[in-house]
């Protein structure tokens, strides 16, 4: 079974803090994704990575950056957290064949920025 883990289930930070969200997958997947989920908006893609050190912007990259130094780990960074970044953050990974890759999700991190 694919296992995607996220470093924290719940996180509370203050405005202006630098926040790191970590995601690890154990299935040697090429692709990794970060989404945020807000009520009524579904899942919106922030960034994804298709290889180590490679990344592409998703639909809402503003205010975020990412890092992928190792294949199994994909980090989402909030350089200076703001209250409008309070949300549920979901990490996913997929094999990388590019044709029909099911995405497998982690349990999510619910971030509150005060």
């Amino acid at each position: 079974d694919v296992k995607v883990t996220q470093s924290s289930r719940y996180l509370v930070k203050r405005t202006g803090e630098k926040v790191f969200l970590e995601c690890v997958q154990d299935m040697d997947h090429e692709n990794m994704f970060w989404y945020r989920q807000d009520p009524g908006l579904g899942l919106r893609l922030i960034y994804f990575s298709y290889d180590v050190k490679m990344k592409e912007k998703g639909d809402i990259p503003e205010g975020y950056s990412v890092s992928r130094e190792k294949k199994e780990r994909f980090s989402l960074i909030l350089e200076s957290a703001s209250t409008n970044q309070t949300s549920m953050y979901l990490c996913a990974s997929s094999l990388g064949s590019g044709r029909a890759d099911t995405q497998y999700f982690g349990p999510g991190t619910r971030l509150t920025v005060l």
């Binding site: 899942l43 979901l90 590019g98 044709r99 029909a100 099911t102 995405q103 999700f105 349990p107």
Partner: protein, 114 residues
Amino acid sequence: AQKVTQAQTEISVVEKEDVTLDCVYETRDTTYYLFWYKQPPSGELVFLIRRNSFDEQNEISGRYSWNFQKSTSSFNFTITASQVVDSAVYFCALQIYNFNKFYFGSGTKLNVKP
């Protein structure tokens, strides 16, 4: 442009009732994949099914069944004899062949009452 619409924001049923969750998609591509995911209160999205655009055969898995109709661009999900454990948010998603990105609907929250 790609788009997935789940018009039902929330549905409530009593246990043992049948319920259908609607999913309508838009794409001009001829090769694509459709997915359903379940998100229980714990937060993790659980993969349920993937269909490709060339396979319109309906699928049944236990109490779950899926009806894919290209003529109406729909990929509906039916739960037969619903149970309390089916209570969750269900997401429909679209992926275009050879692209990593998923297009998610906004989700349908299903409440199954005992």
